[in-house]
């Protein structure tokens, strides 16, 4: 493998034929790349592809079990693989700055923000007196308003976005020659992540620092990098300019990544476009007036205890929406916009403060659990997190047939046969019936959760961020499954998502929420092509992968509207 073709300047970091092993297991295999000063390089790969191990090697922080088997890591001219811990430490912070993955856990909760930045400032040997001023400067440079006040605060008093900025300030405070950003966006809302990445990129480009972005999201990588490296199973399988990687991926793995990126590529949209996705019969039934679920003017207040005085927080404010039979209504918005509350009210897991919930013409707003129970058979829920939604002690057979058991349907032999049918419907082999959740992957678990929701043959399924916890390629498979099930069974979906790309692929209608209100709604293609509300426009602009499209001359949302059409 050759070194980077883009290396024009002297590289800050040069990795040559690096191989790292944990015992027998080879985590990184002959990886070579370089990051020149002032350039942005992105490494794309799924969890377990070896990208995080590569970063550990760059920082000289390989876990005790990890061993560099071959190759070298040159940082600032020194080979880190054969030096003492002392010399490795000299490199950390000073030469290579690190922005960790999750800002909510990346800062020490018991130390003030200022002190944590100061630790990095002091690494430069700044005189004691000028440390506080330099800390404020670093915080301000990372785009933090009122740095003097923030410096005195503790991490828990800051939002996720602010904490990420503090971490960026920390990484840059020691004036490193290279910054490594490890999955810089995965823990944040897309709009926040977008702003922060813009900022980081700006800082890096103006100061001549190199930037290495580690991500599982091809769209994030292609948006910002000068060079994209695709990693799989410890090897770099493809490298090149973003335009080339996106436009003509060579390696099958990259091709799949490009194809699977929701809304971003060549994924077969005919499968999901309303006319084709829904069978003729269901499409006919999908009249505007045939509504399965309707929320009418639903308002939900939460009481927030604040010392003696109680404060109410309005989570939902006069929300009305309707799900047409056989179609998908997507409810989108930032976290905290109230979309999950809306779903929980629709599911009657949460009592609305006012307004009505109407299921198939029946007002179920004031029904108790017992009176609602017969109707429960007709609408089911799929949770966001497939890891917690399955009882770890049960096997798959019992899991998928639990609703049948609850309603006393069938003998145990009949239920076992039902389990087989359900597994088949979600494309899991019958042999999986004996497995427990711990023995399944994330995607498989979500399939089991979907199978359970289908056990009672419902008409409506409420999907709460059904793929957000999954890897990109697995996301695509699960979404395909959902679309297929809808077509076969004429299901109606209420889909909650923050990812507009997911929505574009699957939904007939979309409702955009902001601060508890629905700010815009309509057919997906129409809303995405011509967004009226600012929230919609912002959400659309924040979808990664747009900048590559923009370079090609397409306006925001165009690609998504395309996909939804």
């Amino acid at each position: 493998m050759s070194t980077s073709t883009l290396a024009v300047d002297t590289p800050v970091v040069e990795v040559r034929d690096l191989s790292v092993a944990y015992g027998q297991h080879q985590a990184v295999n002959g990886v070579s790349f370089a990051v020149p000063a002032g350039r942005v390089v992105a490494v794309v790969g799924e969890s377990g592809s070896g990208k995080t191990t590569t970063v550990s090697a760059l920082l000289g922080l390989l876990p005790a079990a990890g061993r560099v088997v071959a190759g070298s890591v040159h940082v600032g001219g020194r080979d880190l693989t054969h030096v003492s811990e002392r010399e490795r430490r000299a490199v950390r912070g000073r030469v290579v700055g690190y922005v960790p993955q999750d800002p909510t856990v990346g800062l020490n909760p018991t130390l003030r923000v200022g002190e944590q930045v100061a630790e990095a400032v002091r690494r430069r040997g700044v005189p004691r007196r000028s440390v506080p001023a330099e800390v404020l400067e670093a915080l301000a440079a990372a785009g933090i308003d009122d740095p003097a006040q923030r410096a005195r605060q503790h991490p828990h008093q800051l939002s996720g976005g602010l904490r990420q900025r503090v971490l960026i300030a920390t990484a840059l405070a020691a004036h490193p020659q290279l910054v490594i950003a490890d999955e810089p966006t995965s823990a944040l809302d897309t709009t926040v992540a977008q702003k922060i990445l813009d900022h980081l990129e700006g800082l890096v480009r103006t100061s001549g620092t190199g930037l290495l972005i580690i991500t599982h999201d091809l769209r994030v990588a292609t948006d910002r990098a000068d060079e994209v490296l695709v990693m799989s199973a410890g090897r770099i399988v493809e490298r090149g300019r973003p335009v080339d990687v996106l436009g003509s991926p060579q390696h099958p793995y990259t091709q799949r990544l490009v194809a699977d990126a929701p809304g971003g590529g060549s994924r077969s949209v005919t499968l999901v476009a309303p006319a084709a996705a829904v069978s003729a019969e269901a499409a006919e039934a999908a009249q505007a007036d045939d509504v399965v679920l309707r929320l009418e003017g639903v308002t939900k207040d939460f009481v927030v205890p604040r010392g003696a005085a109680q404060r109410t927080l309005r989570a939902l404010d006069d929300v009305s929406l309707s799900v047409r039979r056989g179609t998908t209504l997507a409810l989108v918005g930032e976290s905290g916009s109230g979309k999950t509350t809306a779903l929980r009210v629709a599911m009657r897991l949460e009592e609305p403060t006012s307004g009505r919930v109407v299921f198939d013409g029946e007002d179920i707003t004031r029904r108790g659990w017992r009176e609602l129970r017969p109707l429960r058979r007709r609408f089911q829920l799929v949770h966001q997190n497939p890891f917690a939604a399955l009882d770890p002690r049960w096997d798959v057979r019992d899991l998928v047939t639990e609703p049948l058991h609850s309603f006393g349907i069938g003998t145990s032999a009949e239920r076992a046969r039902a389990a087989e049918r359900l597994l088949d419907a979600v494309h899991l082999p019958a042999a999986f019936a004996d497995r427990r959740p711990a023995e399944l992957s994330g995607g498989q678990r979500q399939r089991v959760a979907i199978a359970r929701a289908l056990a009672l043959d419902p008409e409506l399924v409420l999907l709460d961020e059904p793929v957000s916890a999954l890897d990109v390629t697995v996301q695509a498979q699960v979404l395909d499954l959902l679309v297929e099930l809808q077509r076969e069974r004429g299901l109606s979906y209420l889909l909650i998502s923050h990812d507009l790309a997911v929505v574009a692929d699957t939904s007939h209608d979309v409702a955009v929420m902001s601060r508890g209100r629905i700010v815009e709604s309509g057919p997906t293609a129409q809303v995405f092509a011509d967004p009226q509300a600012t929230t919609t426009a912002e959400l659309l602009a924040a979808v990664p992968g747009q900048r590559a499209a923009r370079r090609a001359g397409a306006p925001d949302g165009q690609l998504l509207a395309e996909a939804a059409r």
Binding site: H25, P63, L428, P429
Partner: protein, 307 residues
Amino acid sequence: MTTLTSPTQTSHTTSTTTAAADATTAAAEPALLPGGRRSRRAQLLRRPGVVVAVLYVLLALGTAAVPGLYTGVDPQQPHPADKLLPPGGQYWFGTDELGRDLFARVVHGSALTVQATLVALAIAVVAGLLVGLVSGFCGGWVDVVLMRGVDVVLAIPTLLLSLTIITALGFGTVNVAIAVGVALVPGFARITRAEVLRVKTLPYIEAARSGGATWTSVLRRHVLPNTWGPVVVLAVLDVGTAILAVSSLSFLGFGAQPPHADWGSLIASGRTYLVTNPWLSLLPGLAVGLLVLSLNHVAKSLEEVAR
């Protein structure tokens, strides 16, 4: 050194490739954790320390069930010619001031101590589980009342609470068992409640409820089985605590009354001869210490494997 990559994450790599090669069927997706509970047990038994500990615990439990299997000697029988003999061939642990066989006395003393411990633990687990389940599951004022009660009992140091109960009930092995058991109830009540509260909010409970399951079936089929784990670990850990409490109380003179002797009272009566015949106290003490050490080791390994 810190770990950026966890070993599980990396061991995942090979299987991801398989998935990449054949992504059309969901079955090709990798499982995150190979093996379930069966492999856990195998994992435990592969540790030599655990095996030794388990064997010693079984040995001690055996003395409680059938002390006659270990020694045919009557622990009460004095041998006037063989007073205060050091450990040796005929008397493995030596003899006491009346010439009684110390090994036989330790074996039979173990029976008393282990039985008292088991009674204490039974009281603690049953009462604690009941209080914790009701408290966590019902919530509201029931929870408040029960948990304030538990807090109050916790405000009295454990051993002191046991002593108070003994003062009221009088001395003897059974009373010591009751006193220790009652003092352990709050711990079990708390952990059960915490587990119930944790499990209660998990999405699979919500999934079961929206799937039409009744609260009683949720309690029986989901909550109780998933609450067990930590309670069992605490029970194993607390066997050690209970043994220490039981033998401390009898060491202080509140347990088995002469001529019967459990471990604590054996050690106490040997104190008089500590200068000249230290084994009289130290050998029974070693027996207790090793048992508690073994139990703690088993509990700790259980917890490590369960994590």
